[in-house]
C-alpha cells in the first residue's frame, strides 16, 4: 500500500451492498482511500459494481451475481467463488477470482483483465469486446459465444460449441475442446500469438511455468460474416 493510503473495512453482515457501492462511487479523484476490505459478502449480488477509481478491493468470501460489473480502474480480488456475470461489461482494471466462476464470466466486457483461478461455467466470455480473460481451470459450453474482441485463455478444457459465431476475439486452449461452434476454427499459432499468450501468463502470474506451445489457437473462419444461402446450414 502507498504511504498515506487509507484502508477501509466494510462488513456486509452489518452494512448493505448499497452503502458499500455508494461509498465506492463517492470516491473523489486523488482520494487516499485506496484499499477496501469487504468481509461477509455471503454471495450478495452487485458487490463493487460500477466502481470507477484506482482502488484495490478485497472481498473475503464468495460473491453473487455481477461482482465488479462495469468496473473501471479498480482491482477486485474475490477470495472465494463468484456467481453469474462476474466482471460483466468491465471497461478496465482487474478482477481476480480465487475460486470458481459461474456462467457468463466477463460477459460483454470491453477491457481490463479477468483472472479465474478455478473453473468457469458456461458462456465464459460471451460477447466479449476487448477484455483479456484467463481461466486456470476449464470453461463450460458456449464459451466465447459471439466474442468480438479480446482474448480468452484456458489452461484446462473447453466445453461444447467453443467460439460459436465468433468475430475477432482470440481463443487459446491448452486442453481438449469438446466441439467448436459455428464459424470457429483452429488457427495457426505464430510467434505473435505465443508472445500474446506469454503476456497473459504474466498477467496470471504463471509466466515461466507454462509453455505457450502447449496451447492451440482458435478464431473466426469469417465465413458467416455475410449472409449467403450456401452457409445457411452452418447456423
Amino acid at each position: 500500500m502507498n504511504a498515506g493510503a487509507q484502508s477501509n473495512a466494510f462488513d456486509l453482515s452489518h452494512s448493505t451492498v448499497r452503502e458499500l457501492n455508494a461509498a465506492l462511487h463517492g470516491l473523489k479523484q486523488g482520494s487516499n482511500a485506496l484499499f477496501w476490505r469487504i468481509t461477509h459478502p455471503g454471495g450478495l449480488h452487485a458487490i463493487a459494481a460500477g466502481v470507477d477509481a484506482p482502488v484495490t478491493i478485497e472481498v473475503d468470501g464468495p460473491v453473487g451475481y455481477y461482482c465488479g460489473g462495469m468496473n473501471k480502474q479498480a482491482t477486485i480480488l474475490v477470495k472465494g467463488s463468484a456467481g453469474v456475470g462476474v466482471a460483466e461489461n468491465m471497461m478496465s482494471g482487474l478482477v481476480h477470482v480465487e475460486g470458481d466462476a459461474s456462467q457468463a464470466a466477463g460477459a460483454t466486457a470491453h477491457g481490463g483483465s479477468l483472472i479465474i483461478d478455478g473453473n468457469a461455467a458456461a458462456r465464459c466470455g460471451i460477447s466479449m469486446k476487448g477484455i483479456d480473460i484467463v481461466v486456470k481451470g476449464s470453461v463450460g459450453h458456449m464459451s466465447a459465444f459471439m466474442a468480438q474482441a479480446g482474448t480468452l485463455t484456458v489452461f484446462g478444457d473447453a466445453g461444447e460449441a467453443l467460439g460459436d459465431s465468433i468475430y475477432e476475439a482470440r481463443l487459446y486452449v491448452r486442453g481438449s475442446v469438446k466441439s467448436l461452434g459455428a464459424d470457429c476454427i483452429e488457427k495457426e499459432m505464430r510467434d505473435e500469438h505465443k508472445q500474446q499468450l506469454f503476456e497473459r501468463f504474466k498477467l496470471a502470474g504463471v509466466d515461466g511455468q507454462i509453455d505457450p506451445s502447449e496451447f492451440k489457437r482458435y478464431g473466426s473462419a469469417r465465413n458467416l460474416y455475410h449472409f449467403h444461402v450456401d452457409n445457411a446450414s452452418n447456423y
Binding site: 449480488h45 460500477g50 453469474v84 456462467q103 460477447s127
Partner: protein, 448 residues
C-alpha cells in the same frame, strides 16, 4: 356441319387471381426462388390487423359534460419512474420517441429526433448501437437502451442517460435479435459496436448474462447499483404474452413497462418474422393494464404502449385503455421526411415507391434517414427535420386534448375504457370495450 356457319364463341371468364396466391405472394415466391435467402426489410407488420381505427370515443352527452375546447385546461404531462428511481422523468406530453439505433439511422436523423422531442418536452431513446453525441447533445431527456448485444455499453453513458430501458424484445420481432447489414456498418458504426467494418451484423436475441425473471430482478438491481438508484428502469417487451410479461417485469423491479405491438417498426428483420410473430398493439393494452391492476401497481409502475401510433386519436385511445404514455418510431421517421413523395423518382429507381419503401437495411434511403451514406445523410437538415417532428408531436397532443375535452376530461390520463366503443367484434374483444350500440363486450359476459 356447313363450313360457312361459324361455331359460336364460348364466353370466357375474366382472368382470376388467387386470393391465396395473390400478386405479392407470387412475387415473394419468385424472389425466394431466385435468391435462396429470406426477405429482410424494415418497418413493422403491414398486414391489416384490428387497430385503434376500430374504436370510437363516445364523447359528451346528457350524463357527461365536455370541457371548453379553448378555455379549459386539459393536462398532458406525465411522470415516468415513480416507483424506485430517485430521479423520475417528467415529460410535458405523453408521446415519447421509441428506441432507434445510430447505425440504423444516420447521425443527423438522431439529432433531429432529439431536437424535435426536446422542443416538445419529451424523451428520445437510443438503440442497438450505443449513445452518440448527436443524440445526447440534442435530447433533453434520453433513455438508454440496455440490449442483448450491449454494443457500446459503458458506465459513463449509462450515467449520462436519464433512464435505462432493458430491452427484452420488440413488437416487430418478439424473440428476435437486431440486424444491421454490411452496407450500414460504416467505420464509425463498426467502431462503436466493436465489429469488423462491412459485415452483416446479427445481434443476439437473449441477454448474455441473465435468463428468466429471477435473473432479471438481479440484473435490474445491478443497474440500479451502478447508477445509484437514480435512473428509472424501463423493461420493454414485444407484445406476445402481455399479462404475464407485464407481471414479471413488475416482479423484477421495473419502474416502467413498455409493450410494443406487432405494428412497431424494426430497422431490419425477416419479413416472415415481422408479419407472423407477435400480436397487435390493440390486443395487448388491456391485458398489460390488468396485470398492473391485479398487482395494485397501475399508475405506480407506468405503462408505455407503442406500435402503430399515428395521431392524437391513437394516443387518446391508448391512454383511455390504461397506458400512461405512448412511443412512436415509424411515425417519427415519416415526420422527419421518410418515404416523402418528393423522392418518388429515386424510390422508383430502388424498385419501390414513396409510402412503401421499407428496405431501410440497405442504407440507400433517398431521404437520408435510414442510411450511413455520407452524401445521402446530408439531405436531412436536422434543424428543419426536428422542427417537423416538433410540429407533428404538437398536433398529436392537440388532437388528444381535443378528444379528452370532448369526453369531459381535464387531463388526458382521465380518459378511460368507459369512453370507448368498438366498431368490430374483434376490436371489442381485444380492447375489452362494448361493441358500438350494445353493451356487449365479447369474451366477458356473453350478453348483448
Amino acid at each position: 356441319m356447313n363450313e360457312h356457319v361459324k361455331a359460336p364463341v364460348a364466353p370466357r371468364t375474366l382472368p382470376r387471381e388467387s386470393a391465396t396466391f395473390d400478386a405479392y405472394t407470387l412475387s415473394e415466391i419468385r424472389r425466394a426462388a431466385a435468391t435462396g435467402i429470406y426477405d429482410i426489410r424494415g418497418a413493422g407488420a403491414k398486414r391489416k390487423v384490428p387497430h385503434f381505427d376500430d374504436l370510437l370515443f363516445l364523447g359528451a352527452s346528457i350524463s357527461r359534460y365536455p370541457l371548453e375546447g379553448y378555455r379549459e385546461r386539459c393536462g398532458t404531462e406525465v411522470v415516468l419512474g415513480t416507483r424506485f428511481a430517485k430521479k423520475p422523468i417528467e415529460l410535458k406530453i405523453p408521446i415519447t420517441i421509441a428506441g432507434m439505433s445510430f447505425g440504423s439511422l444516420s447521425g443527423p436523423a438522431k439529432e433531429a429526433l432529439g431536437r424535435g422531442a426536446s422542443q416538445m418536452g419529451t424523451s428520445t431513446t437510443t438503440g442497438d448501437g450505443g449513445m452518440t453525441q448527436e443524440e445526447r447533445g440534442h435530447s433533453k431527456t434520453l433513455v438508454y437502451q440496455y440490449l442483448p448485444s450491449r454494443y457500446g455499453m459503458n458506465p459513463d453513458d449509462i450515467r449520462k442517460a436519464d433512464a435505462i430501458e432493458v430491452v427484452i424484445g420488440q413488437g416487430a420481432k418478439p424473440g428476435g435479435g437486431g440486424m444491421l447489414l454490411g452496407q450500414k456498418i460504416s467505420p464509425r458504426v463498426a467502431k462503436m459496436r466493436t465489429l469488423p467494418e462491412g459485415i452483416d451484423q446479427r445481434s443476439a436475441c437473449r441477454h448474455p448474462d441473465w435468463t428468466g425473471p429471477d435473473d432479471l430482478e438481479i440484473k435490474i438491481e445491478e443497474l440500479r447499483e451502478i447508477t445509484d438508484w437514480e435512473k428509472p428502469i424501463y423493461v420493454k417487451v414485444g407484445a406476445s404474452r402481455p399479462y404475464y410479461d407485464t407481471a414479471l417485469a413488475v416482479k423484477a423491479g421495473a419502474d416502467v413497462v413498455v409493450v410494443d405491438g406487432m405494428q412497431g417498426g424494426t430497422a431490419a428483420t425477416q419479413e416472415v418474422f415481422i408479419e407472423n410473430v407477435g400480436i397487435p398493439t390493440l390486443a395487448c393494452i388491456r391485458n398489460a393494464v390488468r396485470a398492473l391492476q391485479d398487482l395494485g401497481m397501475h399508475r405506480k409502475v407506468q405503462l408505455i404502449v407503442s406500435g402503430g401510433i399515428r395521431n392524437g386519436a391513437d394516443v387518446a385511445k391508448a391512454l383511455a385503455l390504461g397506458a400512461d404514455a405512448v412511443a412512436i418510431g415509424t411515425a417519427a421517421l415519416v415526420a422527419l421526411g421518410d418515404n416523402d413523395p418528393k423522392w418518388e423518382s429515386e424510390y422508383e429507381a430502388l424498385g419501390t415507391r414513396a409510402g412503401a419503401y421499407d428496405d431501410w437495411h440497405e442504407g440507400r434511403d433517398p431521404a437520408g434517414i435510414t442510411t450511413q451514406d455520407a452524401e445521402l445523410m446530408k439531405r436531412l437538415d436536422p434543424v428543419m427535420a426536428g422542427r417537423r417532428l416538433a410540429n407533428y408531436l404538437a398536433v398529436m397532443t392537440l388532437e388528444a386534448q381535443t378528444i379528452a375535452r370532448a369526453c369531459g376530461k381535464s387531463h388526458v390520463h382521465n380518459l378511460e375504457p368507459e369512453d370507448l366503443v368498438a366498431l368490430t367484434l374483434e376490436s371489442a374483444a381485444m380492447a375489452q370495450v362494448p361493441l358500438a350500440g350494445t353493451n356487449w363486450v365479447p369474451g366477458q359476459d356473453g350478453r348483448f
